[in-house]
Symmetry: C2
């Protein structure tokens, strides 16, 4: 009991990346404006103001402070591959999302992690990657089957 509690405590302290995966009928994103917070944010260059996708897995990703990027992006890729097989769709949306944690990584590290995930997925999947560093309107039209939404923590 005590050992179990200690393990749980330790795991929580080591968590470095959080992700929420949704199986969506429809996805749309539109950049509303470039973000100027948190204070030291460095947004990416904007390539597409609007993106859309049907029948896809939308992956909301929050990168925390001091990530072990390579290991965690591999683990996340495994989760995405598993879900893709189960739902039968190969369209993946990578969405940088600052709202699954209060311990965000620096912009540079966040962009690096998101880019690495994108690169890892590109060979096998149709990947859309949303902009890092902007306020966006967002449409998530999520299927209702079991396993439609999955939360994962990586450490």
């Amino acid at each position: 009991m005590l050992l179990d509690m200690n393990l749980k405590m330790l795991m929580r302290l080591l968590i470095k990346m959080r992700s929420l995966l949704f199986h969506c009928k429809n996805y749309e994103v539109k950049i509303d404006r470039i973000a100027n917070r948190p204070e030291k944010i460095i947004p990416e260059e904007v390539k597409e103001r609007v993106q859309e996708c049907k029948d896809c897995i939308v992956v909301l990703i929050t990168i925390e402070i001091d990530d072990k990027i390579k290991k965690m992006t591999s683990l996340l890729k495994d989760e995405i591959s598993k879900m893709s097989l189960e739902v039968g769709h190969k369209n993946i949306v990578i969405l940088p999302f600052a709202h699954l944690s209060n311990n965000l990584a620096q912009s540079k590290q966040g962009i690096e992690a998101i880019t690495l995930i994108e690169e890892k997925l590109k060979g096998e999947f149709n990947v859309i990657r949303a902009h890092f560093g902007s306020h966006k309107s967002l449409l998530l039209d999520i299927y209702g089957h079991p396993g439609n939404a999955r939360y994962r923590e990586f450490y």
Copy 2:
């Protein structure tokens, strides 16, 4: 530095409720089927299979193990009130959501907390409360302005 780290560690260990608040143009939910997991889940009676709302704050709530329900529901009500004032809409959707944590409370405790939040809000807001214990299709059509999405942890 060390004190700061210890405080952060302590706070993480004490976190008991997590919430994600979205300012939505449109919200729709439709029950797909009753959930039979996690293992000991006890779903509520179904009153409405479909719910819709426009111009609302959708509050995804995850209740964790060993919650201090009264204190935390008060803190969450304060967050909802603040956001409602800022966005100028009084329609609130309470959505029990099992996907912001891996340490879920028992069903009884989860339903108790959700019901308490609903009761606290009813006097001041137009409240829709989604079903606890089902797989649902979900439409979140989220505005793009700063502050459209907020993540909160309560402890």
